[in-house]
Subunit: 119 residues, 2 copies
């Protein structure tokens, strides 16, 4: 991920409705949510949401697929992962002992309570 992509991603996440969309999609898992459901969830008008979804998609944070009359959106976990890595990568430039707590704290999140990391 280059700076331009990271900027787009951070800017996308720096907007109330879009941040909620991403969190809702992340929580919803790979199956995703329909645009209409998302509109109700974040309480945003459909046309407005469409604008934000396009921006999130362009930022590589979400993906979409059509399913009948609905368009299903889901979180782009790879994109989120890249963004986190981009943010944390430079913390290691000569001072790994400084950023280690951040990594350790993340490693202590609920994700590690499962056996997913050992799969």
């Amino acid at each position: 991920m280059d700076e331009r992509q990271a900027l787009a991603a951070f800017a996308a996440l720096g907007q109330e409705h879009r941040l909620r969309v991403v969190r809702a999609l992340v929580a919803a898992g790979p199956e995703g949510l329909a645009a209409g459901v998302l509109a109700e969830t974040v309480n945003v008008a459909g046309n407005n949401l469409s604008f934000h979804l396009k921006e999130l998609s362009h930022a590589g944070l979400i993906t979409s697929r059509r399913e009948g009359k609905s368009v299903i959106y889901s979180a782009a976990y790879a994109g989120l992962s890249d963004l986190v890595q981009f943010l944390m990568r430079d913390c290691c430039q000569g001072h790994p002992e400084v950023c280690a707590p951040a990594v350790a704290a993340l490693a202590a999140c609920d994700c590690t309570t499962g056996d997913a990391l050992h799969a």
Copy 2:
């Protein structure tokens, strides 16, 4: 960290000059950089930089201390850690196996090549 703080932080990082400032400060380590040095590094006018530094400080991403005539800024590693945790926290809601790759990827960053995690 609540949503309002996370929004401020993401919005702050979604701006070219501010993102570069944060990365420069993160790379510089705890000793930080003077405002003037930062202005040269990111190629931004001093008064303009001051505006961005204030915003980053308000977002909890950087801290400052006066040192003689200079004001030294440094990255707020705790704030960055909180932000990463906020972004990744919800990935665990019922689907830990999905977000695990993101955590694993981050854990593979250079931070872990040192012995900082085992200190």
